[in-house]
């Protein structure tokens, strides 16, 4: 599903590579936590999986696509098979909840009929069926992240990439979001989630990949956040 082979990524102006000979295999249906300090390379690795960047060396295969050799014009079509959520939600403030979700389908050319069916469905799934006509500013942080999750999964992606989705939320709200992501995973979607949230990782007991200084220092099938330092 996702295969990263001895990938090195250097950014201009920094002597140490952000990723140094990283290899990682993720199977269909996996739920993987990427943990590690800031600057350890979690975000760089996610960017490579999303083909926002290409590595200096090594190969990245996602969903059967060789992302290193993928021509720029085919990148949009690759991204339609992924769902992404971020710490800062990235909603459009002048569109309602339903319009935010519909927008992501409109721009990839889905029919009005499909949109009218899919949007209420997915909003029901994330528990926001009643709030379809609210603006993001009228919602709590947890609800906004639910909208972002709805937008990410409305097109039924095979993989969900989540970059610190609970980073801006309080513990109780985070638990709700994690329950939602867990149910998305149970429905068959592969989940890769970068996080700093120790309690979540410890509680979920899923695969944990720990990065430090651009290298994988731990890869456990069921693990916790790591030793307290």
């Amino acid at each position: 599903m996702i295969s990263v082979q001895s990938v090195t990524k250097k950014y201009k102006g920094t002597p140490r590579p952000a990723l140094d000979q990283v290899s990682l295999e993720i199977e269909k249906g996996d739920f993987v936590f990427l943990v590690g300090a800031s600057g350890s390379g979690k975000s760089s690795l996610m960017r490579l999986m999303l083909r926002e960047d290409v590595p200096n060396s090594g190969s990245v295969h996602v969903l059967g696509e060789n992302l290193v050799g993928l021509p720029a014009r085919r990148v949009p079509f690759f991204r339609r098979k992924l769902g992404v959520v971020f710490q800062d939600f990235r909603l459009l403030p002048n569109k309602t909840v339903a319009q935010n979700v519909a927008f992501s389908l409109e721009v990839i050319g889905k029919s009005q009929g499909f949109i009218q069916e899919a949007v209420p469905d997915v909003l029901g799934l994330v528990g926001l069926g009643e709030k379809a006509d609210r603006l993001p500013s009228e919602l709590s942080g947890g609800e906004q992240q639910r909208v972002a999750l709805a937008r990410a999964i409305v097109n039924k992606p095979a993989i969900l990439l989540a970059d610190e989705p609970t980073g801006n939320l309080d513990p109780t709200t985070s638990e709700g979001i994690m329950a939602l992501i867990d149910s998305i995973n149970l429905a068959g979607t592969t989940v890769v989630m970068a996080t700093h949230d120790r309690s979540i990782v410890d509680k979920m007991q899923r695969r944990v990949v720990e990065l430090s200084a651009g290298q994988i220092i731990r890869d456990q099938a069921t693990g916790s956040y790591g030793v307290r330092s």
Binding site: R79, K81, R90, P93, I108, R151
Partner: protein
């Protein structure tokens, strides 16, 4: 990508940037009006050339008593001179080039002069014998006036051989300079309209960078990301070029046909159909420039 969605994106972009859009419309309008005016001037020059070159004659002016000593030492041209000129015009060497020629004596020249300058003070002072007797020559091909000039210049009793086209060329030079000036202004204005369009599109893209980010994230194709912005520039420039088309046609109808043509009845002027010829050129120029400018401007927002 559905048409309705793109249309609403374009309308939203135009509304959001209304001041910039109006300035694009105005700048394109002015610049293309200059382009149109320059094209019409060129058409006018072409038309006048056709009309007047065909009618241009070569004049062989004979000496009068008041001609300058240097060219006419013997004063008024004698009958012998006239016979000589006439024979030479009718000779086997020149005849094939000449469609017709006729002689204008002092009295006819005086009558023509009085008619031309009726009401002008000079008509009262000039006397018949001061005006040159002239052989007017129409050539089959007006470009070959050189032949006449060479045969008669320097002949005793001939004051001057003059191709009327030399007068016309001065007029055409002035018109050419005017159309060059119009083209230069048009070019400057077009440069500023291209810069204005790309700035506006950048602004528009910047104010929608959230949307652009999300579009890229969810996998909108480059084409569907680009299209609303390109259309935004094109729509604004299209409105500007329509206005300039209207201005150019108005210029033809009200100024050229309504004003000039009535006051100068013996000149052929550009007509509405010539104006219609320029209109598609203006619209195409506006649309193509806007599409290119906004396409280039949006390109850097498309980097993946």
């Amino acid at each position: 990508m559905r048409f309705g969605f793109i249309f609403s994106e374009v309308a939203q972009g135009l509304r959001r940037n209304i001041a910039m859009v109006i300035s694009i419309i105005l700048v394109t309008f002015i610049s293309l009006t200059f382009v149109g005016t320059a094209s019409l001037l060129q058409l006018q020059i072409g038309q006048m050339k056709n009309y007047w070159y065909d009618r241009a004659q070569v004049a062989i002016y004979l000496c009068t008593d008041i001609s300058p000593e240097a060219t006419c030492p013997r004063g008024e041209a004698s009958e012998d001179v006239k016979i000589q000129v006439q024979e030479r015009l009718a000779s086997a060497t020149l005849a094939p080039f000449i469609e017709e020629f006729y002689f204008e004596d002092h009295e006819q020249a005086f009558a023509n002069f009085q008619e031309q300058f009726a009401g002008n003070a000079v008509a009262q002072y000039v006397k018949a014998e001061q005006l040159n007797e002239t052989y007017w020559v129409n050539l089959f091909d007006p470009n070959q006036s050189q032949i006449i000039t060479e045969s008669f210049t320097g002949l005793a009793g001939v004051e001057e051989v003059r191709d009327q086209r030399s007068y016309l060329d001065q007029i055409f030079n002035i018109l050419n300079i005017a159309s060059l000036a119009a083209i230069s202004v048009a070019l400057l204005m077009l440069v500023s309209s291209v810069l204005l369009i790309s700035t506006t599109i950048r602004l528009s893209a910047f104010s929608r960078r959230r949307e652009l980010g999300i579009m890229r994230l969810v996998g909108a194709s480059n084409f569907s990301i680009q299209l609303p912005f390109i259309l935004e520039g094109v729509v604004a420039a299209f409105i500007g070029s329509l206005l300039s088309a209207g201005a150019v046609l108005g210029l033809v109808v009200f100024f050229v046909q309504g004003f000039l043509a009535e006051r100068l009845p013996f000149t052929s002027f550009v007509s509405l159909s010539d104006g219609m010829l320029v209109v598609p050129l203006l619209i195409a120029a506006g649309v193509v420039l806007a599409a290119a400018a906004s396409g280039l401007a949006i390109r850097r927002y498309l980097k993946i």
